[in-house]
Symmetry: C2
Subunit: 588 residues, 2 copies
């Protein structure tokens, strides 16, 4: 079926169900960011393969909303769906568009397993103001999708406490303490990284995210893990049982939650549980809404994790420096795809490397202006010496997850490229050198970076930074550095990225990304202050910097950072690479 | 009765009503910031006279929560109540404290007229998680407060369209259009400045806030204004009736809302309506929750208002420069209180001045470290030449409301004072020179100012700026420049203050405040950009600036601003003052 056939079939389903519109989010039953193929409904229906988007189909119209990062990609991939450039002036969000397009008493279908309880609730409220009903009990897709990929089935494995730094029993105990604080006697988890962290388990069920398809249910006297038994080895089963975990089949979960104690007081995170689960529990039990305790626990890295992350920075830094050296010096013909393979090979040389933490972005020339560009054989550009090259990649190691972006010029940069690179570097340094009280929020740090661009009438359409998991999801909440009013205080132990950028559509893009760890700074009479420790080791391109645009503190920062990069990486590099890095990091 | 007697009497009332605790907010029935004496319950009960605080009384404890700005003042004024330093590390908010102090099934009393529906709802949710009941139907204070001041009764008067720039009928029409957008057929207003703006009426019912005690009810075919008839002259009554306004007595309002059409769809702003009114309406009608349309309309000043504000900046600037000249040159003995009188006299010389927009803060020496210091005869310090003096004041003119702070040294400043003043000035300039896209929020601008202090381990406990009304409240929502995640985009026409500060308890405080107007800047390929226009004209103290701490752009800004101040103010100043200002604003 082509997209038009699918659309026609979906509209017949809509007629049968008596709904005027259907919303198809890019989502799974666990509110994951990245999706197993089984859940890539949006891609199947619309042809758009980006990681964020929402399709809406009415009887006469079909639209797909996606943000700034994917506008160029979506424009190329969509045929039967109209692209709505989410965030652009005068483009209404899909819910507002629906409210204007539909009439009172119209019904909209949205599969309740594919939407968080919080989002479903928010949508219901908005639609009800116009008298429109949101029905979250209908799944109109599954019947249509004949060749749907099956659910993933990779083995689960234990993340040793040598890496995790805290046993699962200690984690259970911390969670139960929070449950008691909230007066809850039961806690339901559906978010895969929350469960992976809590149980010290990892897997490969989702591409790039080392998690298992699971649900969990924690009470004061029982810990239940719902997972396909084929994924659990006898040895792992024994270990889990020893730690008090009872295993159930994944499929049993939905029956189990529908059958909770009538008087249970269930702790739920409406952002991280589906509307379907929420509704099922709400029928019989009291719900206590609160962020999952594991969300805050997980984002604050412990000392064992931090020491692994520091060591991983050296390994990953060597891989990236080896790659950049190869890029600069090898005569081999290169394309975007082949460079990704080369970088992967350098990472594979590193100890305890498991797999990439996301699909590398290797973007040459105008492709680098596409924030989340993904090269495929149709678009794969050969590299030449006339343009900028942006490389954004990361690794999942047993010793931590990495995320790094560098932008280089393969030939002679223009003065505009140099000016832009310098501005992005200034934004990067503004974050790297920030000092802030314990009450500070990520949006304040983001503003410090962005000011350097705003003052020149420039901007970038993504956040300055996101949280990073420990051998877990490369995008991890809840802390972030972004323009959004996320009310989470930065706290020591939080691992984030620092990645301001600048994108000139059709020309080039620049992004400079390090990972940073929130650490203690001094305490003054105005309170306790925090700062960032750099957790990525790789030089910047001084040839792309206009030194006259930097102030003395910024120049000192670059020189100090470069000295640290050289000192830490050079012992493990081959002589030619070491020499090359010495040149790249020389005092400027 | 002293505070202990009042506390004893209140506890007897609590026993009779069977409640374990009572919350006494600093509030009136209109969710006003400043309160008529009739509603100064917190001051009557606790002795604390600051403008923000919440008292909580249990059977055995009595606490008063107030923020940073008032800690020193509250410490001095409280006797029977324990001060909780709200915002300080390890000080729980009063609701959390109550949750920990009380037990399941305990009841808390809070007069539903004295709390917004939004806040009551939030408190109810928090308490219910612990099984504690919040009863908003009880008023335990009125019976105890024997000598309670009566409700204010000042005349209402029309703000001519020559000043307002838009007729009330045009405003009604804009509001009705929004009501239609929200599918509402009825709109209830209790916020006094919303009503004053909507009806082009002003009064003097609340000290410093030129408003009338009113309620309003707008339907598609009727406009009802609830106001004490004694306040409305026959001429004004005729004008209002001509414009389609039906007048009712203030007291009739509560019966009227309880008697709305059963099927009415009522637009309510839960932040700006009392829980009492909300509950009454919710019993019979459908509520559509949304910010009052007048809130966003009012905060975006129209062209007529803006041209008046520009003209007011000249008048108010002359008054303040005359005052600072007098402060610098007059040999007369001065105290904090006498200087306030002197400044008021200079303002009274200006055309269309009505009254101060708030009680002037004239704070000498260590008093300047108290953000909202208010001199009284017991604390009134004589001025001498050995310390800093902070003057924060404003005027209500028919042509607009002003708010300005300057800090001067009456003798020879120390190097720390100069360093601190320079840092605050750098923060001020960061805002004044900011350029930002139309998506920018106030918290981003705040962060740009605060960075200059944070980098040095310094901070200040208030926002960088607040909205200002047009001949209305000096603090006007919803836009603000603060650390809080207020999700309101800055838009052309918004009038704000720019007032970073720095306070060294026991020594001195510095605050530098101008009003700023959001205006259009250029449009680039990254979108439309905005910037600020300065709406306050008064020099800064170059003697308090360490020029080596400023970069070239900052020095240029000071010189450019000083040139503008001199050019605009000097024509209306007496020769000695003009000469003095010339010296103060000379190129540096």
């Amino acid at each position: 079926m082509n997209t038009q056939n699918k659309l026609d079939a979906l509209r017949r389903k809509m007629d049968e169900a008596g709904v005027s519109a259907v919303i198809i989010p890019n989502a799974d039953s666990h509110q994951s960011e990245y999706l197993a193929e089984h859940w890539q409904t949006l891609k199947w229906l619309t042809g758009f393969s980006g990681s964020a988007g929402t399709a809406v189909v009415t009887k006469t119209q079909a639209g797909m909303w996606t943000d700034f990062r994917y506008w160029i990609q979506a424009d190329a991939q969509l045929d039967s769906f109209k692209l709505f450039r989410q965030g652009d002036t005068d483009v209404p969000p899909f819910d507002k568009w629906l409210t204007h397009t539909l009439s009172s008493n119209d019904r909209i279908a949205l599969d309740g397993k594919m939407v968080s309880a919080a989002q479903a609730n928010s949508l219901k409220n908005k639609f009800s103001q116009k008298g429109i009903v949101l029905d979250t009990t209908l799944d109109l897709i599954s019947d249509l999708w004949q060749d749907r990929p099956s659910m993933p089935r990779t083995p689960a494995f234990e993340l040793d406490v040598v890496y995790a730094g805290e046993t699962r029993k200690e984690k259970f105990s911390r969670i139960r303490k929070k449950m008691a604080d909230y007066n809850a006697d039961c806690h339901v988890l559906a978010a895969l990284d929350d469960i992976a962290w809590t149980f010290n388990l990892r897997g490969e069920d989702i591409h790039s995210n080392p998690v298992n398809l699971t649900f969990a249910l924690i009470t004061m006297d029982k810990i239940s893990l719902f997972i396909d038994p084929a994924k659990v080895s006898p040895a792992l089963e024994t270990t889990l049982k020893t730690d008090g975990v009872t295993l159930f089949d994944y499929d049993v979960f939905y029956e189990t939650v529908q059958d909770l104690n009538k008087n249970a007081r269930v702790l739920l995170d409406p952002e991280r549980i589906s509307d379907f689960i929420y509704q099922a529990i709400e029928m019989r039990s009291d719900i206590i809404e609160h962020s999952n305790p594991s969300v805050m626990f997980k984002c604050v890295k412990n000392e064992v994790e931090i020491s692994h992350i520091r060591e991983t920075a050296v390994k990953d830094g060597r891989a990236v420096v080896n790659f950049l050296h190869w890029l600069d010096t090898s005569d081999a013909p290169k394309t975007e795809i082949s460079t990704a393979e080369q970088l992967l090979n350098f990472r594979k040389e590193q100890d305890a490397f498991i797999h990439p933490s996301f699909d590398s972005i290797m973007a040459f020339k105008e492709h680098s202006a596409i924030c989340h560009y993904s090269a495929d054989p149709d678009t794969d550009l050969p590299l030449s010496s006339d343009a900028m090259f942006l490389t954004d990649s990361g690794g999942n190691y047993l010793t931590g997850t990495t995320d790094i972006t560098r932008t280089v010029h393969l030939g002679a940069p223009t003065s505009q490229e140099i000016r832009d690179y310098t501005l992005v570097l200034k934004a990067h340094i503004a974050v790297a050198t920030a000092r802030f009280p314990t009450t500070a929020r990520g949006y304040q740090i983001d503003a410090m970076a962005r000011r350097h661009l705003w003052q020149q009438g420039l901007d970038f359409g993504h956040g300055t930074g996101h949280g990073v998991g420990f051998f877990l999801c490369v995008h991890e909440g809840p802390a972030r550095l972004s323009t959004l009013p996320v009310d989470i205080a930065l706290a020591p132990g939080m691992l984030l990225t620092n990645e301001p950028g600048l994108y000139r559509e059709g020309l080039y893009g620049i992004r400079l990304e390090n990972m940073i760890l929130v650490i203690d700074d001094e305490e003054t009479q105005f309170g306790k202050f925090l700062k960032f420790e750099n957790m990525t080791l790789c030089h910047f391109e001084c040839d792309l910097v206009d030194k006259t645009m930097l102030n003395l503190a910024e120049i000192n920062w670059v020189n100090g950072y470069h000295q640290m990069v050289y000192d830490q990486l050079s012992p493990g590099l081959d002589a030619p690479v070491r020499q090359w890095l010495g040149h790249k990091t020389k005092h400027f």
